[in-house]
Symmetry: C2
DNA sequence: TGTCGAACTGACCGACCGTGCTATTTATTA
DNA sequence: TAATAAATAGCACGGTCGGTCAGTTCGACA
């Protein structure tokens, strides 16, 4: 339980990089094998199919997102600070990470919105989980601030919207001002909802 | 200048449908030829390369967007009504069109944000053009309403953000409430900017 | 150190990819 | 209608795809 799982881990990490550029479908086993200095069949032996590799990559991305974005926010006390930390972490996930070069979940959303299957199912599930996190953190901030009623779902929608366009502006248009636009938008969003 | 261009047009239309589902890269000439009842080489003869077909598809999408979304807005008088028409048309383009099933520009943004080449270049150009349209329409509404100063670029950012998340919610999560969330968000955006 | 299973290789499969080339059918026009 | 041009089909190419399998190398452990 050492050499094998080490290799497997390095495959998944490199696959994550390639998937961010080419998508999980566009990524090929041959190119991936070359990148990790393995024969195609040697690589393939670790996963019984391309699909199971795709699922492993998605799982890896979810783990990273949880520890890089969600966990630091939940480590803060309930309220506005936790909410702000969650947003800042999300922005940083999208625009900062050099190894990341954009949010892979957004890329995969476009790639799989019309491709039924286990990858899409897991992606949808993870999106719902993230929505739940945003909703709960925002709800906590609203309670702390005494805001009632509070339309948590609407808040979640606009929170995500700001992030999605940050990816768009940052990655496609290469506009460096995206980040401050996102932060300005979020500040007004918070003010609007009183949290 | 009749039979040939008819065929070419039907190829481009079918290619647009397939590109929305599979992307412009994932779309294949063989499958496309079958769909339009043509041999692969018969189809290929209309375009000297796959790339020129991709560009033709993109151009077709731009034309449709211009006539379906931009033109109806510009037909309205300057001000809030024109702005609202632009947004409503954009929402409808994303969520309504049955033949459309989502905004292809958003899909292509994810597909080409890391694929340099003429397709990406044309896509970026068209995005900038749309941004200019939003900016000018919003600026007109601001002037009409006597709003000064008006941060037009920030407004454009948030306008687009609402649309992007509508596509996300509508296509990946299949949440039918996306549309009303988008409209709620836009109403508050207008109120915030006083236009 | 010898053994045994895990890790890995290399050759290969059928399918399909984009792309040419040539022949044949079909549409236009003189 | 005959001549000419355009549109389309057939076929083959080099290459790559995901995937299989028999055999070789290598690492852990008795």
């Amino acid at each position: 339980m050492s050499k094998g799982s080490d290799t497997r881990q390095s495959i998944v990490e490199e696959a994550l990089n390639q998937a961010r550029r080419l998508g999980l479908e566009g990524m090929t086993l041959g190119e991936l094998a070359t990148s990790v200095n393995l024969s195609k069949s040697g690589l393939f032996a670790h996963f019984k199919s391309k699909e199971s590799l795709q699922l492993a990559v998605l799982e890896e991305a979810i783990d990273r997102f949880t520890s890089d974005v969600v966990a630091p926010a939940l480590a803060k006390p309930r309220g506005g600070e936790r909410l702000q930390t969650l947003f800042t972490g999300y922005v940083s996930w999208i625009a900062d990470k050099p190894w990341n070069a954009g949010c892979i979940f957004i890329s995969l959303s476009a790639e799989y919105d019309d491709r039924p299957g286990p990858v899409r199912d897991r992606l949808v599930e993870s999106e719902h989980q993230f929505h739940d996190v945003i909703r709960r953190v925002a709800q906590g901030a609203a309670e702390r601030a005494g805001v009632d009623p509070f339309d948590a779902d609407q808040f979640v929608y606009e929170f995500k919207a700001i992030g999605l366009n940050l990816q768009h502006v940052h990655r496609l248009l290469r506009d460096p001002r995206g980040r401050e636009r996102a932060e300005t938008a979020f500040a007004r969003l918070r003010a609007n909802f009183g949290i």
